[in-house]
Symmetry: C2
């Protein structure tokens, strides 16, 4: 087995552009040294992706690398933060150089796309798992937390829902063509970073949809001390979702499927038009799906029969 | 199984002192929000501890919690950084509430002792492994990197060497009394945080001793482009080391044993007296063990017969 140092050096060396990204010292020393921006708060989160729990172990290595970073970046999106730096703790059962090269390519491509620089890591032997710690920045006081939704505000989601769940089902049915949009929604999620930043100053509260609309709405409502009246007919279903899963299956996937990594936000009605305009500029649709209520609980979902609380471990 | 959210809420909730520690938003939202100090650089590192690779799975849970954080903090010590915040990605094969409570107690106690606040985490099901990301701060430009050791400087180590290796052997031989100093050196390492900060402005380069003196000296020499002349007779052996391992075993443990988490520093001869005085104030002994050389390679170790390059995975 290659030593940890050789692995890191070969596949995860410091990007040549690091100096211009607030990185005084990158991969290879005891710590990375970073220069935070004046007037900003640091938004930090860690997410672990475990093979066969969060993704199929036999998915393409580049998709595994992309996805492990994407789910972590989605938390930055939900705060309205601008991505800056990340660290990766990688656990591998064995060393396959070709696999690692492909994994690193998927990871680095999303780093490049999202403007995040890999500044540190640790490689250990164990079952395949990837923990990614991400760092973003927000002008102080402007982050979108979960706890500030207020009764009377609109509840809205970016993009479309249910696609990742249909993609998961397609993968299980043997589909392997990652150019298929639903499968790509599951294996190559695109964190809504630009949308999160665009909603700063407009949305009161935000959360990313990782567990599913209903459970994540539950987290937002609980943190804010509000309830919700949903309009189930308004849910923006992913293209092809009804064809793939049928009418009921599509609504079930949209409500409880998980892994869509869209943003759910609460915002004053007066801010809605401007929010839609800002998102339209970056090609993102914002759909109102309900209203925050002073009455606890979630109403308006006629299919609430227990299945909406699928645990995260469903994958 | 308890949900991830319940686990985090129960054992790793935000410390009541968080607000006074630069934490605007702690555990429980999509991200933590942190306020970096003006004029400081951020030192960041991640370390993964895997059961049966880095620690015995049947060690006391509190020691596992302590140790997982300690090895990460040791990287901050090696940069001279002041600890601020940490995040933990915890992978558990199953949920044992008593084990988790004890694990959290060990983790939190070292948080308290070292002034670090837990601001985020992720809990997944898998083999027992703990990834800890630590954040520290240094006044800009004062961090102790690995690459600035210069020929003619003194090479010195804090504290004593070899104790952790003797403790590992004692554990394997059935010793379970954590009040025994050598076993404690292995299972309850104390990161040299105060010493690292005290050496800012005096040491040219530093590294923490995780792999062992010879491999870590190799990393420092390689990064700095220097060699080293060691004085093997000067190595500060841990108390009781010769009694535990014999004369040759003691020297072998001190040179290659790993897990001591002392600091190895290079510093100008002119700074030696002041460095010793500063460390004496905090009860830490600094021992000169050799000299940096312009000639590559490590000399002066008469027992170089191959065993000094024990891989990290020895544990």
């Amino acid at each position: 087995m290659l030593s940890e140092f050789e692995l890191i050096a070969r596949h995860f060396a410091r990007s040549p552009r690091a100096e211009s990204h607030g990185v005084a010292l990158g991969v290879g020393d005891d710590c990375a040294l970073l220069t935070p921006s004046a007037g900003c708060q640091l938004a930090v989160s860690v997410d672990t992706s475990v093979a066969e729990v969060h993704f199929p172990a036999d998915a393409p290595a580049s998709a595994i690398g992309h996805r492990a970073l994407a789910v972590a970046l989605s938390d930055l999106a939900a705060m309205g933060a601008t991505p800056r730096w990340c660290l990766m703790a990688l656990s591998l059962p064995d060393v396959d150089d070709a696999w690692l090269a492909e994994f690193a390519a998927g990871f680095h491509a999303l780093c490049e796309q999202s403007g995040v620089t890999l500044v540190g890591g640790d490689v250990t032997r164990g079952e395949l798992a990837i923990s990614v710690t991400v760092h973003g920045e927000v002008p102080s006081g402007t982050a979108l937390a979960r706890d500030a939704a207020r009764p009377g505000e609109a509840l809205a989601v970016t993009g479309s829902l249910g696609g990742a769940n249909a993609g998961l089902k397609a993968w299980r049915a043997g589909e392997r063509d990652l150019t298929r949009p639903l499968l790509a929604r599951y294996l190559l999620p695109q964190p809504r970073l630009d949308a999160g930043q665009a909603l700063r100053g407009l949305a009161s509260a935000a959360i990313d949809l990782s567990d599913g609309l209903l459970p994540d709405l539950g987290h937002l409502c609980e943190a804010s001390g509000v309830g919700a009246d949903l309009d189930a007919a308004a849910l923006p279903l992913a293209d092809g979702l009804i064809k793939a899963l049928g009418e009921e299956g599509a609504h079930r996937a949209a409500l409880a499927g998980g892994d869509d990594y869209e943003l759910l936000v609460s915002l004053p009605l007066a801010a809605l038009e401007q929010a839609r305009a800002r998102l339209a500029e970056i090609g993102v649709v914002l759909t109102v799906i309900g209203t925050c209520s002073a009455t606890p609980g979630v109403r308006g979902v006629t299919t609430v029969d227990g299945w909406q609380h699928f645990p995260r471990g469903e994958t």
